[in-house]
């Protein structure tokens, strides 16, 4: 058994780390900025960084060379992504390349791989996810947005919700109903829709934790057949694959650890008129437990990464990690909030505010972690069925 990364991977990690130290310096790193990816100043900096990353070929490290990648291993791609998150660097494009790119490589046509994977590699492609609808959340397969075939096009009608980043990205991974008569999982198809297509309207929804998402309305939107991914009626299967990738990459927990390290550094130095939280035995015990639980996450990530590298699909393991990491994110922000007492509630710009408002922003953001991308209850049901073979409810 060997948990170590190859020499090449370790070299790459070092190179990537140095790159971010130079190109995404400390003053760009905070615990609020990357939750507001549409601020013009942030977008400009992010765009500059993405161009540099694309020039290095790192956005598509593990893609085959003919689609703009470097043909390196999944392990190396993971390490790159870890370092990107550790540097608090913008992760919209890099995230799309690593979450959704592999699904296109797996199920897309030659033309789609050329168009989308190559563009992802060049930092010129990004996506939003058109999965959830107002009446289809956890029961995603009951979604209603209609796609009706009309010659070389499909005509889309309906609405999507929580289409985060819809207002700034180029394309949407849209799950739509192509066969209303088929069983609910079987009548779905997946499309990669150009967000400039006439008929799409976007309404912003502002959330806790300074997060912005959207509702999108689809009114006779004409989508070319060439933008359907894979076969008609197989959309559910493709999305399930995408979700398995997503659970690993979204919960690449390095940034939760980074946040924890920054908060621990704050606790260690907090000393205001005799108030020294690091000396409180209860706080020490609780902070130590978070450190234990973070190590658990890291080890499970290694296991999943290794399985993916072996071509195995970590159905139960990915759900275990998602539940554990999201619940830990909440436990962590909650534990530190309690440890810091009245100071914990301070926002940006107030003296003594932990991570200059970063704690309270992350605390609020963490509320969403246990229900987005498949809630904890859905994940536990997956573990029970896929991992343990328990009978359907």
């Amino acid at each position: 058994m060997d948990f170590s990364f190859s020499k090449e991977t370790q070299r790459l990690r070092e190179e990537v780390r140095q790159f971010f130290d130079k190109e995404w310096p400390k003053e760009n790193r905070n615990w609020r900025g990357w939750e507001q990816p549409d601020a013009p100043e942030f977008l400009e900096k992010a765009e500059r960084l993405n161009k540099l990353l694309a020039a290095k070929g790192w956005l598509a490290l593990s893609y085959p060379k003919q689609y703009g990648g470097l043909g390196r291993t999944l392990e190396e791609h993971y390490i790159f992504h870890q370092e990107l998150l550790r540097a608090n660097a913008p992760n919209l494009k890099a995230g799309c390349a690593v979450l959704l790119g592999p699904v296109i490589l797996r199920y897309g046509t030659e033309d789609q791989k050329k168009r989308f994977n190559t563009a992802l590699a060049q930092g010129e492609m990004d996506f939003c996810l058109g999965y959830s609808e107002p009446n289809a959340g956890s029961d995603l397969a009951s979604l209603e947005l209609k796609a009706v075939r009309d010659g070389d096009y499909y005509i889309m009608n309906g609405s999507k919700i929580y289409t985060t980043n819809a207002h700034i990205v180029r394309r949407c991974f849209l799950l739509a109903r192509t066969d209303p008569k088929a069983a609910k999982h079987k009548g779905l198809s997946l499309f990669i829709v150009d967000m400039k297509t006439p008929g799409i309207t976007i309404r912003p929804i502002h959330c806790m934790g300074d997060v912005r998402t959207n509702e999108t309305f689809w009114d006779n939107v004409k989508v070319p057949v060439a933008d359907r991914l894979g076969e008609e009626g197989q959309g559910w299967r493709y999305v399930a694959t995408a979700l398995d990738f997503e659970r690993l990459w979204i919960y690449n927990t390095i940034w939760v650890r980074k946040l924890f390290d920054d908060l621990v550094a704050f606790i260690k130095t907090a000393d205001r008129d005799g108030w020294r939280p690091r000396e409180d035995p209860d706080i020490r015990t609780k902070v130590a437990q978070i450190s234990v639980d973070l190590e658990v996450c890291q080890v499970m990530e290694y296991k999943i990464l290794w399985m993916l590298g072996q071509g195995k699909i970590p159905y139960a393991e990915a759900s275990m990690l998602k539940v554990w990491a999201s619940e830990l994110y909440q436990r962590m922000t909650d534990t530190i909030t309690q440890a810091l007492g009245p100071y914990a509630q301070l926002s940006q710009g107030v003296l003594g505010s932990p991570l200059d408002g970063g704690l309270i922003q992350q605390h609020e953001s963490s509320i969403g972690a246990t229900f987005l991308a498949g809630g904890s209850e859905i994940q536990r049901t997956i573990i029970a069925a896929a991992g343990l073979g328990l009978p359907a409810a």
Binding site: M1, V287, E295, Y302, R380, I383, G387, G389
Partner: protein, 376 residues
């Protein structure tokens, strides 16, 4: 990265599982526990024939020259079978102590006999303040001519009654700092002055109170350097702690499997209870705990085998595994309901084994303090 077990480890796991399933079903575990010695000497002989006793002992001392992970894989299976045996005391703790600190003579005298299963060793460490620190050692060993004379009382000594040799930690310097004042002695269990009384513990696992009443041992029985024994203790405790985790992983895995099977078989309200999400989600958490406990253990073992600093990983692992397996057993009992509470069902053996593993070698709180002191 390669997280596969080696072919040897896979074969070892397979052999161990089928051997223990046929030789040590849970009803026999109960019989062994009720018997005078607390284990089966007949099974012990068969285990020795399989080469298990000398797994960590190098070739030159007639062992198998295996790795720590080999042993961990085996201990996991022993936990799975709730096997009562002095295996860890002898094949891990005694063996490691001798390999690390023993003289050439001590090694060639004892290791081949450990490897053959002819002798058993036990660690006599804890006392009335069982906090795993050097300062808590009050037992004294005083030089007297060619001998040392040991005086004191040891508690929670696993396998002392069936041991041939005790490894006893005693104070040999009354002035130095605690960590610089402890020495280890290899003491024959039948030395005059040793009185051994079995504690009646929840897991019936033959822990003993061992009284050393003016026990005379020759100076040659010093194991390692004078006053440097605590370094050896810390080293063997690391191994013992991780082995305890592997035992718990085996315990948790079997409890999970029994519970999932029960949830599939048990019909209430006209359907298997495993079809209720209230039950499914509890089972999902059990599976998560056991999976995570196993990989935390393997990760730490890997670091130790690589010679990387692992003290913090060991503490994180013991803190996690202790509570994860305890929670697994609690949920297992909840899902089994009444039947799992009876002594006609094996689950109680697993609960008791998990409990003893949890409190030994530092419970979760003890290890959290280690982590806190390192990071805060």
């Amino acid at each position: 990265m390669d997280l596969e077990l080696t072919e040897t480890q896979k074969a070892l796991r397979k052999t161990a599982r089928s051997f223990l399933e046929s030789e040590c079903p849970w009803t026999k575990v109960r019989d062994f526990q009720n018997a005078d010695l607390g284990y089966s000497s007949e099974m012990w002989r068969k285990m020795a024939e399989l080469g298990w006793m000398g797994l960590l002992i190098p070739d030159e001392y007639e062992g198998a020259g295996g790795t720590f992970l080999d042993l961990i894989v085996l201990v996991e299976e022993m936990g799975r079978a709730v096997l009562p045996s002095p295996y860890v005391s002898s094949a891990l703790i005694g063996t490691q102590a001798l390999l690390l600190a023993g003289t050439a003579e001590q090694k060639s005298l004892l290791l081949p006999r450990i490897a053959k299963g002819e002798i058993v060793t036990a660690l006599a460490l804890l006392e009335a303040n069982p906090d795993y620190t050097a300062a808590s050692i009050k037992t004294q060993a005083k030089a007297a001519g060619d001998d040392y004379v040991i005086q004191g009382t040891k508690l929670f000594v696993r396998d002392a009654r069936i041991a041939d040799y005790l490894i006893c930690a005693a104070k040999t310097d009354s002035k130095a700092a605690p960590k610089e004042s402890i020495s280890l002695f290899l003491v024959k269990r039948d030395s005059p002055g040793i009185v051994c009384k079995t504690h009646n513990t929840i897991a019936r696992d033959r822990q003993c109170e061992v009284v050393f009443n003016q026990v005379k041992v020759p100076k040659t029985s010093l194991l390692g350097k004078l006053n440097k024994g605590w370094d050896v203790v810390e080293h063997i405790l690391q191994y013992a702690t991780v082995a305890e985790c592997a035992d718990m992983v085996g315990v948790g895995q079997k409890a999970l499997e029994m519970t999932v099977q029960h949830a599939k078989d048990r019909v209430q309200f006209g359907r298997p209870i495993g079809s209720f999400q209230a039950i499914q989600h509890e089972c999902a958490d059990m599976a998560t705990y056991v999976e995570q406990a196993r990989w935390m253990t393997y990760f730490t073992v890997w670091k130790m085998e690589q010679g990387m600093p692992a003290a913090l990983d060991i503490s994180r692992t013991k803190a996690y595994v202790s509570e994860a397996v305890q929670k697994t057993l609690r949920r297992g009992h909840q899902i089994h309901g009444g039947v799992g509470f009876t002594l006609e069902h094996p689950l109680y053996l697993y609960y008791r084994r998990a409990l003893t593993d949890e409190v030994m070698y530092g419970n979760a709180d003890w290890h959290r303090k280690v982590v806190a002191n390192a990071i805060l």
